[in-house]
Amino acid sequence: MKDSTSVDIPETSADARGEAPLFTGKSSSGGGIIYAHKPSSAQKKGLAIFDLILRISAIVTCLAAATAMGTAEQTLPFTTQFFKFDAGYDDMPSFLVFVICFGIASCYFLLSLPFSIVSIIRPQASGPRILLVIFDTMVLGLTMASAAAATSIVYLAHNGNSSTNWLGVCQQFTDFCQATSGAVVGSFIAVAIIALMLILSGASLRKH
C-alpha cells in the first residue's frame, strides 16, 4: 500500500500553452503544485512583438547611419599643388569600415525579420530565439567596434591633436564633418537598440 498521494492528471491545453501552474504527477515530493515562474505565453508574445518593432527600428537606424556616412562628401573650391582638398568616406579606413559594418547590420536585421515573426506566432519555441540571440550578439560586437573606431576619428577631426601635429579638419570641411558626426550619433542609437533587443531576448528565453 503506497503512502504517496501522487495523482495522475493528464496535460491540459492550458498546460500545453504554458499558462497553467505545473501540476504533474511526477514531482518528487509526491504531487504538490509547483508554480513555474517562467514567462507565460502571453508575456513571451508581447516581448516578441516588441522585439519585432525594435528590429524594424534597428534596420532603419543602421541604414540611416550607413547612408549618412556614405554620402558625406565635400570638395573645397580651391586647390594647391601639394594638398588635397576633397574628403569622402573612403578616404578614412575607419569610415569605410563603418559604412560596411552598418550595411551588413541592416541587411542582417532585414533577414532576421522572418525568425522574429516565427517567434511571435509560436511563443514557446526557443530555437529561432536562440539563433537570433547568437547572431545578434555578433552584430552587436561588430557595430559597437566600428562605431567606436569612427568616433575616435570624428573626435580627432573636430579637435585635432597638438602632440602629433594633426590639425582638426572640421574648420575647413564643415559639411563633411557635420554629416559624419550625425552618422556616428545615429550609430550610437542603433547600438543601444541592438543591446535592448538582446536583453529582451534573454529575458524571454529564461526558464525560471
Binding site: 503512502d3 569622402g88 578614412m92 559597437m144 567596434a145 573606431a149
Partner: protein, 192 residues
Amino acid sequence: MKSGPNAKASANKHDGCSPPNAGAKRVIAVLDLVIRVAAFIGTLASGVAMGTADQRLPFSTRFVHFKAVYDDLPALTFFVVANGVVSAYLLILGMPLSLLHFIRSGATKSRVILIILDTVMLALLTAAASAAASIIYLAHEGNSSANWLAICRQFRFFCRRMTGSLIGSLGAMTLLAALIILSGVAISRRRR
C-alpha cells in the same frame, strides 16, 4: 511522506553527480579559471604597456611637440582606463567567483551575474580597442586627405609599444568571448 520508489529516485538525483557529469563540470571549471587568469594577465599587461609608453625625441622646435605619451591621445587614454577596469574586474570579482564555482559547483545565480558582467566588460574592451586601433592605424599610415602625417616614422619605439599593447588587448578580448561561451555552456548543463 515519500513513497519507496519515489524516494529512491529523488535520492539518486540529489546524491551528487554521476561520474561523467562531475568530470565534465570539473573540466569546465578549470578551463574557466585558466582562461580568466590568462585574460587578466593580458589586460593588465596591455594597460601597463600602453601606460608606460613614453618617447621623447632628442630635438625640438618652438612650435612643434616631440614627445609622445598615452594621455596625449584621448583614445589611448580610454584604452588604458578600459584595460585597467577590465583587469580590476577580473581580479576582484571574476577570479574569486570562478574559484568559488570550481570549489562548489554552486549556484546558477552567481554564474548568471558573471556572464552579464563578462558581457559588459567585453563590450567596454571592444569599444576601447577599436577606438585605439583606428588611432594607431592613423599613426602607422597617416591620412593624405586630412593631411595627417604618420607619426610612426619618428616615434618608432612608442609606435611599437602601442601596437603590441593593442594586439595583447585583442587577444584578451577573444579570451573574454570564450569565457562567455563557456559560462553559457556551464549554465545550460546545470539545468539537467
